[in-house]
């Protein structure tokens, strides 16, 4: 039942972002397809030889616009469920239902995470769905792989904001802190230059490439489209772990908090 | 059966119920064989706890005033008084003591107190007779 409640809380925002994403991707795909890009699909890589148009599509959409939109969705969808209840002062009601706070925490988080997955899948399918169906190239399915870096990047931001909402007991504060941290983190590569030697020592010589979330998404999508680029595995794993760490910290906080 | 209780009174509610039931019986409004409302119904009507009503019914049953059958319904007992006279006297004594104490506190003469008691007994008998005659008329 709580799933239903969390869905209701975030339904409007989810649908808004879904419309925005599909509104961008689908018309563009239709336009590109009409110009005949799909039939030029040849071996080499999913999009090699397809022509400028598809490269342009991937660059503009997948390496600029979509990650930003999905990141923003991650921020905005985070104040839902338990975090939101602080504002309405209904936690006294919710926490006296026969469910552990752990269950409520993870249920709430999962709803948002699924919504983000939905948005990401819609973005990828909306852009490349037609191409994948039409193309006879065996690697076309790899385009679907773009879902992974987009999802992990967005859900990491979502998890962080979700945690901040609970920490600050307010949706608005959580969102502003999340946005602030996100913006700061975009400057992380600068910081990395100083940290690298330290990190190298800590990791016994393995170089850890700490990138921002956007780098993850761009790099990941870039790899899907042009595999020579290399997949940012380290960053991917790092943000993946962070995604799970934040709701765990949120759970610890909720379990200890007095209402 | 319409009872009335005043929960704000210093008299416990269960005692009020017992007193009223006894009064009804003494006045003839309730006769042996009459059914009393179930504990739940009476509690609901009076907006009081079923424990209170249950206690009143239990006390009355122990006193021989009421009788509960197997199905759970409670009736006015056939022979309401089945105790030895000494027992009955023992039960009345606290009330007699209370009248004596109160009367003395109010500076009434013993004679006046006795007159008062007699007046009450006469009034009760009059009510009994009136209901008795009504009963005969309706048959």
């Amino acid at each position: 039942m709580y799933i239903w409640k969390c869905w209701r809380d975030s339904r409007a925002r989810f649908i808004f972002f879904l419309i925005v994403i599909l509104g961008i991707c689908v018309p563009f795909t239709i336009y590109a397809a009409r110009l005949g890009g799909a039939t030029d699909f040849r071996a080499g890589g999913p999009l090699s030889g397809v022509g400028h148009l598809w490269s342009w599509v991937s660059t503009v959409l997948f390496q600029t616009l979509i990650p930003l939109i999905v990141l923003f969705a991650g921020l905005v969808l985070a104040p839902l469920g338990v975090g939101q209840e602080y504002k309405e002062q209904t936690l006294g009601f919710l926490f006296t239902r026969p469910r552990s706070r752990r269950y409520l925490n993870w249920t709430c988080w999962s709803v948002g995470a699924c919504e983000i997955l939905g948005l990401v899948v819609a973005a990828v399918l909306g852009t490349f769905g037609a191409l994948i169906c039409v193309s006879r190239h065996v690697h076309a399915w790899r385009l679907l792989g773009a879902i992974l870096p987009l999802f992990v990047g967005a859900v990491a931001v979502y998890s962080m904001t979700y945690f901040l909402t609970i920490l600050a007991r307010s949706g608005e504060k959580g969102l502003s802190y999340g946005l602030g941290i996100l913006v700061v983190s975009l400057f992380l590569p600068l910081l990395e230059l100083q940290l690298s030697p330290l990190l190298c020592c800590l990791l016994h010589g393995h170089a850890l490439h700490l990138s921002s979330v956007l780098s993850l998404m761009w790099g990941g999508c870039g790899w899907v489209i042009a595999p020579e680029g290399g997949f940012p595995t380290g960053t991917f794993v790092f943000y993946g772990l962070l995604t799970l760490a934040f709701p765990m910290f949120a759970q610890l906080i909720l379990e200890r908090r007095e209402v | 059966m319409l009872l009335h209780v005043n929960p704000a009174s210093g008299v416990p509610t269960y005692l009020q119920i017992e007193t009223q039931v006894k009064h009804y019986i003494a006045a003839g409004a309730l006769v042996p064989g009459d059914a009393l409302p179930s504990v739940r119904k009476l509690a609901a009507d009076l907006r009081i706890s079923t424990n209170t009503v249950a206690r009143a019914y239990q006390d009355l049953e122990r006193d021989g005033v009421l009788r509960t059958v197997q199905g759970g319904r409670t009736y006015v007992a056939e022979n309401p008084i089945s105790f030895l006279k000494s027992e009955r006297v023992r039960r009345l004594r606290p009330y007699a003591r209370q009248i004596a104490v109160e009367g003395t506190q109010l500076r009434l003469e013993p004679r006046e107190i006795m007159e008062l008691v007699q007046q009450e007994l006469d009034a009760l008998e009059e009510v009994n007779e009136r209901y008795g005659s009504l009963d005969r008329k309706s048959r």
């Binding site: - | 509690a43 907006r47 706890s49």
Partner: protein, 311 residues
């Protein structure tokens, strides 16, 4: 494993600078209506929040329906219904949707109860909760609690915003469907008249401590006001006697037990016992909360000097 509905042992809850609950040992038997009374800030809501797992006790233990508070909290919440003082629910949902949301948590939920009580309380089931009046909000909260099929119902100010008709409906439901079914009711309220009507037991708390816990019938059978006229304060020395007021020649005592014996003793000492009268709950509450010290020689409240027994 005890079979009390609610049991606490030396429960303490400290906040910075204040002990909201200070060594509280409650005993609430099953199947009764228990009135939990006290002034504002006496510790009632803090105690209730501890029982429901919303706050953690600083010291002491508590069980609800035999389950340990804190460790077995979910088991407690499965069997306990709670109406909080704040009566806050999700503003965007209608009562019908709130019912839909809540029923999923409880296997013993009764839809017939929802139909019956929503009709009795005259709740507008399709208006958003945020647009309901205070009284209607309370009614919705009561509806959810009463339909849950709980073994223990904890009410914190259930009469808030309710008109007398609605209060009457509520008391009737409690008498017939709750206590009448052997379930336990725990009411914390300032509406002494309503508590007095339905309660079997009362627990009176002040400054986080229990001043009185007894069956209401016993209290009414035994507590008496004794008004005495005498020039000097008679010696008593019993902890069961409190001096609650003095005016000139007259002194008024609250006697918790054996009032007749006390009156007789005063008579023997030469004082004139003007009246021995029973007390309603309001008078008991005010007398105990205002004057918590037993009357012993040398400690007579407003009257400083110990007195001899000569008149």
């Amino acid at each position: 494993m005890n079979d009390m509905a609610v049991w606490t042992e030396n429960l303490v809850k400290s906040y910075p600078g204040v002990r909201a609950v200070d060594g509280l040992s409650l005993n609430v038997p099953r199947g009764v209506a228990y009135g939990f009374l006290g002034r504002n800030g006496a510790g009632k809501t803090s105690t209730i929040r501890i029982l429901l797992g919303l706050a953690r006790p600083t010291e002491g233990r508590a069980t609800v329906l035999g389950f340990s508070v804190g460790r077995e909290q979910v088991a407690i919440l499965e069997r306990t219904a709670y109406v909080s003082e704040s009566k806050a629910l999700y503003g965007g949902l209608t009562p019908r949707e709130l019912v839909c949301f809540t029923r999923g948590f409880y296997p013993n939920w009764s839809d017939q109860a929802v139909t019956k009580y929503s009709r009795l309380f005259e709740i507008p089931m399709d208006r958003p909760f945020s647009k309901l009046s205070q009284g209607n909000r309370t009614k919705v909260y009561l509806l959810l609690a009463l339909s849950q099929g709980a073994d223990l119902l904890i009410f914190d100010e259930p009469g808030m915003g309710l008109d007398p008709v609605a209060v009457d409906v509520f008391l009737r439901i409690l008498a017939e469907d709750v206590v009448g079914e052997g379930r336990t009711v725990f009411i914390s309220s300032h509406q002494l008249a309503d508590v007095e009507q339905i309660a079997d037991c009362v627990g009176l708390i002040d400054h986080g401590r229990l001043l009185l816990e007894a069956r209401l019938d016993d209290v009414k059978n035994q507590f008496r006001f004794v008004t005495v006229a005498g020039n000097d304060l008679p010696q008593t020395g019993s902890p069961e006697v409190l001096l609650v007021g003095s005016e000139g020649n007259f002194h008024k005592y609250l006697v918790k037990r054996n009032a007749d014996a006390f009156a007789a003793e005063l008579n023997r000492q030469g004082a004139i016992v003007a009246e021995v009268s029973p007390l309603g709950l309001r008078e008991i509450f005010l007398a105990l909360v205002r004057k918590g010290e037993p009357c012993t020689s040398g400690n007579a409240g407003e009257i400083a000097a110990p007195v001899s027994s000569s008149f």
